[in-house]
């Protein structure tokens, strides 16, 4: 009997991906330049295998939270759902980027390995139930992302962006660790559920002297988190990194990691520190108030700065900031004065928002990648001029994506905003909801400007757009999903609600 070994069932997908990543790394060494498609196919197969395993494990645990590694790792429904969407996002990234990378000589083995390990990092983050596990996952993901940004090592812009990303990312990790260590000092544990119990006890006055340490720890944790999620005032890296990285990498950074960041916020704030939410007699000012400031600033600066951009990658970067701010609104509306009655609705709204945002971002950056050719980056807004004349179909796909990002019905972006606004008003924060819609209105301007460029302006170039069949079909499905999910939003909403309810 292997009694010393933990039952590793909940972590099978991670173990599988780790093994697959290492195997692919070795196999790629023996492949000739022309046989890169093998690596590509194997990477996709690895993701498919992960999806199968995740489904299987979820099925076997029957949706009950399953802990392993002495409570450091958990597989609950939220983790399963988020992981499934992560696999989908990563797989789509691989497909969308293939031609782009091949044209630039970047379609190398290390790209796949880095992507797969970054994915592993996200999975660990999503399933972490211990501060250390969370940090491990975060670092694994971040280190892979730093190197991915610098994938095109001859580009000064890329290396500068990678350097910035690395320095600021390291700083943020430091902040996060410092915060965790303070929480550890106060509670004596790093296990997330135990932290929650211990903080509650401390606030009940057992022992009261530790409450200030908790407050300090919270500030550092929220700062580190805000950096990783990318909200104002910790957003400085986003436009530069999105702009500097090769478009295919930007596509990757703006999708999967957002889901992981959402999971991290849930684990850290909602699971570990619910008693520090604030607005209670014991702890009057907590992370709720901090998130209010972060999200209002993000929506303001993200939307206003996006208007001034001429580069679509920078524009979408600022739009990311504003969307993450909006997502935080859902997160902070869960607990009203220490009471978490309607919390599942609010958090599921935030999760729905995150998932929908990732789908929209996949499509939008996917279009940027698709319009780029060898020797030409379609990253200026002007490059979208007259797209309707060049390719009515892809212009229509982009139109759906833009209206979805703007939150105009009947696209799914509207329902994401609706769910979050409902949560915010349900929490009684009327002014916050008004601020949110006003900035959403301002944000609409730059999305419809893209539509204007595509439909109202004459094209400056006439090169036909002929993506590969796989990319064409997938990105069309991606765009049409905005409409389909908008007409039938219920299944996805329900999935998110189920995921949050049982976590």
């Amino acid at each position: 009997m292997l009694t010393n070994l933990p039952i590793m069932l909940p972590a099978y997908p991670e173990i599988f991906l780790l093994a697959a990543g290492c195997t692919i790394l070795v196999i790629d060494l023996f492949l000739k330049e022309g046989a890169r498609w093998v690596t590509y196919a194997l990477s996709l197969a690895a993701l498919a295998g992960c999806a199968g395993l995740t489904w299987l494990v979820t099925f076997m645990t029957q949706g009950q939270p399953a802990h392993t590694f002495n409570g450091m790792f958990v597989l609950d429904t939220m983790a399963s759902v988020l992981k499934m969407f992560t696999y989908l996002a990563v797989a789509l990234c691989l497909v969308y980027s293939r031609t782009y990378l091949a044209d630039r000589g970047l379609h190398r083995g290390e790209y796949f390995v880095l992507v797969l390990f970054a994915t592993l990092g996200m999975m660990v983050m999503i399933s972490a139930s211990h501060f250390l596990t969370l940090y491990l996952g975060l670092e694994l993901m971040s280190l892979c992302l730093y190197s991915l940004v610098a994938l095109n090592r001859d580009s000064a812009l890329s290396t500068e962006a990678a350097m910035k990303y690395f320095v600021l990312g390291a700083l943020a990790s430091g902040l996060l660790l410092y915060g965790m260590s303070m929480i550890y000092g106060a509670t004596g544990t790093l296990q997330i559920n135990d932290v929650a119990l211990a903080t509650a006890r401390i606030l009940q006055g057992d022992p009261p002297a530790k409450a200030p340490v908790l407050a300090f720890g919270l500030v550092f944790i929220v700062s580190g988190l805000a950096f990783k999620v990318g909200v104002v005032p910790f957003h400085m890296w986003i436009p530069d990194v999105y702009h500097g990285a090769p478009s295919a990498v930007t596509l990757f950074i703006s999708t999967g990691p957002k889901l992981a960041a959402f999971a991290m916020a849930m684990r850290l704030l909602v699971n570990a520190l619910p008693s520090l939410a604030g607005n209670t007699p014991q702890f009057p000012s907590g992370w709720q108030d901090m998130l209010v400031i972060l999200s209002v600033l993000s929506m303001a600066i993200g939307n206003l700065a996006a208007i001034a951009q001429t580069n679509i990658k920078r524009m979408l970067a600022y739009s990311t900031i504003s969307h993450m701010g909006f997502m935080l609104l859902g997160l902070l509306s869960g607990i009203v004065g220490g009471n978490a009655l309607s919390a599942a609705e609010a958090w599921s709204a935030a999760m729905f928002y995150a998932v929908v945002y990732v789908l929209m971002s996949l499509g939008a950056f996917g279009m940027v990648v698709l319009l780029s050719r060898s020797g030409f980056e379609a990253e200026r807004l002007e490059d979208f001029k007259g797209l309707n004349a060049r390719s009515p179909w892809f212009a229509f796909v982009m139109l759906l994506l833009m209206f979805s990002l703007a939150g105009i019905p009947p696209t799914v972006g509207f329902y994401a905003k609706l769910a979050v606004l409902q949560a915010v008003l349900g929490a009684g924060q009327v002014w916050l909801a008004v601020v949110a819609v006003l900035f959403a209105l301002i944000g609409t301007f730059y999305y419809i400007r893209v539509v204007k460029l595509m439909y109202f302006d004459e094209p400056t170039e006439t090169a036909a757009i002929r993506p590969g069949l796989d990319v064409g079909i997938l990105i069309s499905a991606n765009g049409l999903a905005m409409l389909a999910l908008g007409i039938l939003p219920h299944p996805l909403m329900q999935l998110c609600l189920q995921a949050i309810k049982s976590f």
Binding site: Y415, L418, L421, Q422, A433, T444, H490, M493, Q494
Partner: protein, 492 residues
Amino acid sequence: MQSAPWLSLSIWVPIVAGMIVLAAGDRNLREAKAIALFGAVVGFAVTVPLVTGFRTGTSAMQFVELAPWIPRFNVNYHLGVDGISVLFILLNSFITVLVVIAGWEVIKEKVAQYMSAFLVMSGLLNGTFAALDALLFYVFFEATLIPMYLVIGVWGGPNRVYAAVKFFLYTLLGSLLMLLAFIYLYNKSGGSFAVLDYHKLPLPLNAQILLFVAFLMAFAVKVPMWPVHTWLPDAHVEAPTGGSAVLAAILLKLGAYGFIRFSLPILPDASHYLSGFMITLSLIAIVYIGLVALAQTDMKKLIAYSSISHMGFVTLGFFIFNTYGMEGGLVQMISHGFVSAALFLCVGVMYDRMHSRAIADYGGVVNTMPRFAALMMLFAMANCGLPATSGFVGEFMVILGAMKFNFWIALLAATTLVFGAAYTLWMYKRVIFGEVGNEHVAGLSDANTRELLVLGLLAAAVLWMGVYPAPFTEIMHASVDDLLRHLAVSKL
């Protein structure tokens, strides 16, 4: 008793047809146009049973369809019409047919996309009028922005981008606040988006006033009421002829319809409390905008301002809270739908030949286009509210209602008859009568069969409504009475 889901058909037939037209594209132009016309005509045909099968004498919703849509938010696909909304569905589907015919040869670029946009918009507008679920209403209400934005921006005049963006953002601002109001009502009513539930929901006065302001932002921009009307002249002037016609005939009605369906029955106390304010805004629109119209040199702009002035009459009729005012306002809405669409189409007929909308470029058109001039005469007269045209009925009823309410308000409102006649007939005189102004006018050819067909159909509608308006008022009577009864009961 119900045979077919006529309301769903009236929404989805045009949308599906529009999608097919879009897919057919400009490569199969003849087929695309044929499908567009077919879709529009069938779309109109399926709305006919709504009127023939309509039971007058009850204010209950008819042709109700109910199916769960988003159970998570308790949102239902809930359709139904009463005596108020059924007429607008008919009007909308009718105008769509005309717009498709009017754009038949005139639109040269991206024809399939043009037709498709109008068909999709027609379906969405029908959805807005038929929705009995607040969120469903909102989705349709907002979704209409997308095709209209494209119509103005792609096929519009020189300054079209500015006009399109202004139109989009202006109307979006209002409707976002309305969305917050809906969510507030949803939370307040214990999780329901059903409009009819809101009608019974008790609300304190301060909440009612805030909600009223939120609704006002949405609907006032759409109507448009002074002082949030400034997007309209821009949008009208730059939009292509069909766009202007739909904008004036249908989209503006959404705002007024919103007052009737949401503001008045859900917030009766706030409506009474703020009625003075609303009446003032309406009177400013009638008098001041009437004067502004007088000063215009661009025909489309003149008609746009005239629309604002006429819509002021509608809101005035609603907020004096009696049967004459309310029914007069509704009749005025429908009449204005015909007349403004007709006038914009008339301008379009001339613009297609001359490529100018400036009054000064014309003169003596009657000499070269006599048949056209005769038809336009009728519409100009209807616009001034001449008896025996549809314009007279609504204005007369509203003035009658206002007279019961307050003499001075009625007097001010009646000035519109003077101003309306002044700006319309003066424009008509400068454009149509007199010596032939220049060689361009001398070379004009009279309206062709297609144009005569479109204008002739509208002329018949205008005359019918002017001579025998009883069928229209009969349909709406029970619903209006019910609304007024509802308004008289406080919800505090």
